[in-house]
Symmetry: C2
Subunit: 213 residues, 2 copies
DNA sequence: CTCCAAAATAAAGTCAATTCACATTTCAGG
DNA sequence: CCTGAAATGTGAATTGACTTTATTTTGGAG
C-alpha cells in the first residue's frame, strides 16, 4: 500500500507546501513566484502544478492545514466548563481568530479569501467553504451544550444560531484583515460586543416582561 | 472650469465603464480582456489604466454605482411604515440583496469581492468597504426608528445592531455567490430566519420570564 | 534483471494584465 | 495666432502565471 513511490509523493507534496509556507510568510503572496517556490522545494515549476492547480490553491492548502487544528482546539474548548453563555461563545470564537493569525498574515488571509471566492468550485475552494461550514456546526454544538445547561433558550435551532454566530466572526475577521491598520484588540472588542448583543437579542419583549415582573 | 479637456475626460471615463459593463455582463469577468474593453470604448489599452488602476478596479467602480442606488432605495424604505420589527429589518436587507443581483451576476460578485480584498487599500477597494459601512449605518437607522416605535429594545446601541445585521446579510450573500447552484429563494429564506433569530435573541431570560408571567 | 507506466523535468510556448517610452493633444501666456 | 509645458493617449514590451511537450527517471511487477 505505502510503497516508496507514494511516500516520495507525499514527501514532495510536503516539501512544496513547506517551501510555499516559508516564502509566503517571508515575502507575502504577491511577491512570491511559483518558480521561487519550486526552486526552494527543489522541483521543477511544472511539478508544483502536478500537486496544486494554482498558486492560490497552494495558499488554500496551507489554510486547510490550520483548519483541522482549529477545529480540534474548538472541540476541546467545548468539552470544558462554561460560565455565562456570552463568555463561552466569545471564548470559542476568539480561539478561531487567534489561531487564524498564528501562521498567516493579513495579506495572506486576504489572498486566501480572494482565491476561495474566485476558485469557489476547485477542490480547495470547496474545502475552504467546507471548513467554514464545519466551524459553524461546531459553534452550533456549543450552543446546544449551553441549551442543555439551561443557559440558553431551548426552543431555538442550535445549528442556525451557530451559523449566525460564525457568520459574525467571519464578517468581523474579514473587516479586520481588509484593514491593515486595525489592531487585533479592536477585533476582539467588537466580537465580544456583537456576541453579547446577539445573545441578548433586540426584541422589546424582554423589556416589557421585565417591567411586568 | 469645464474645458474641453475635462469634458473629454469624463466622457472617456463613461465610455470605458460602459464598455466594461457590457462585456462583463456578456462574457463574465475572467473572459473579458482589458484589450477588448479598450477596443469597445475606442481607446488604447494604456488609456484604460489612466482611468482605472486594474481590471478589478473597473468592476468595483461598477459595483460602486449600484451602491449609491441601493442606499437611496433603502432610505425610501426606512421612511415608510413598518409592522413587526423582524419583517421590517428583513424587508430592508432583502432590498440590498435584490438590488445587488439586478446588474451583477454571481461570477461578477465573486470577482468584485475578491478584488476588494486583494486591493483593499486602492481607492476603489476603500470605496467598496466604505459602501458596506454606509449600508450598516443605514440598517442602524432603521433599528433606531424601530426603537423609537417601541418595537425594539431602546437600551441597545442601534449602530452596533445595524452592523451585526449587515454582517449577517453580507455573510449570507457571500455564501450565496460562492455557490453557483444556490437559488435566490434559499438565500431569502435563510436571511428571514437569521433576522428573526437575531431579533429574538438566544438568552434564556425571556423564557424564564415567560414562565413567571 | 528487464521492462512498463507513472511521474518528474526542463524548456519552450501561450496568454493576458500591467507598464513604459514615446507621440499627440490641450491650453496658458505672450 | 504661436509656442512649449503639462497632461493625456498609445501600443509595443515586459512580466509572471500557467500549459504543453518531448525526454528522462524510477519504483515495482513479472
Amino acid at each position: 500500500m505505502t510503497g516508496l513511490r507514494e511516500r516520495q509523493k507525499a514527501g514532495r507534496r510536503r516539501d512544496i507546501l513547506a517551501a510555499a509556507s516559508q516564502l509566503f510568510a517571508r515575502n507575502g503572496f504577491a511577491d512570491t513566484s511559483v518558480e521561487a517556490i519550486a526552486a526552494l522545494a527543489e522541483v521543477g515549476t511544472g511539478t508544483v502544478y502536478n500537486y496544486f492547480s494554482s498558486k492560490g490553491d497552494l495558499l488554500m492548502a496551507l489554510v486547510a492545514l490550520d483548519g483541522e487544528q482549529v477545529r480540534a482546539r474548538g472541540k476541546r474548548f467545548i468539552a470544558g466548563r462554561h460560565a455565562d453563555p456570552a463568555t463561552a461563545l466569545y471564548g470559542l470564537l476568539a480561539i478561531y481568530i487567534d489561531h487564524s493569525l498564528v501562521h498567516l498574515t493579513k495579506e495572506l488571509w486576504r489572498n486566501a479569501m480572494a482565491t476561495a471566492l474566485t476558485q469557489a468550485d476547485s477542490p480547495f475552494g470547496i474545502g475552504y467553504f467546507e471548513n467554514d461550514r464545519l466551524l459553524a456546526e461546531q459553534v452550533g454544538e456549543l450552543v446546544a451544550v449551553l441549551q442543555a445547561d439551561g443557559s440558553l433558550k431551548s426552543d431555538i435551532d442550535a445549528a442556525q444560531a451557530g451559523s449566525a454566530l460564525f457568520i459574525i466572526v467571519n464578517g468581523l475577521f474579514m473587516q479586520f484583515v481588509a484593514q491593515e491598520k486595525m489592531p487585533k484588540t479592536q477585533l476582539h472588542a467588537r466580537l465580544r460586543a456583537q456576541v453579547a448583543l446577539f445573545v441578548a437579542g433586540l426584541s422589546a419583549e424582554t423589556v416589557l416582561q421585565r417591567k411586568r415582573a
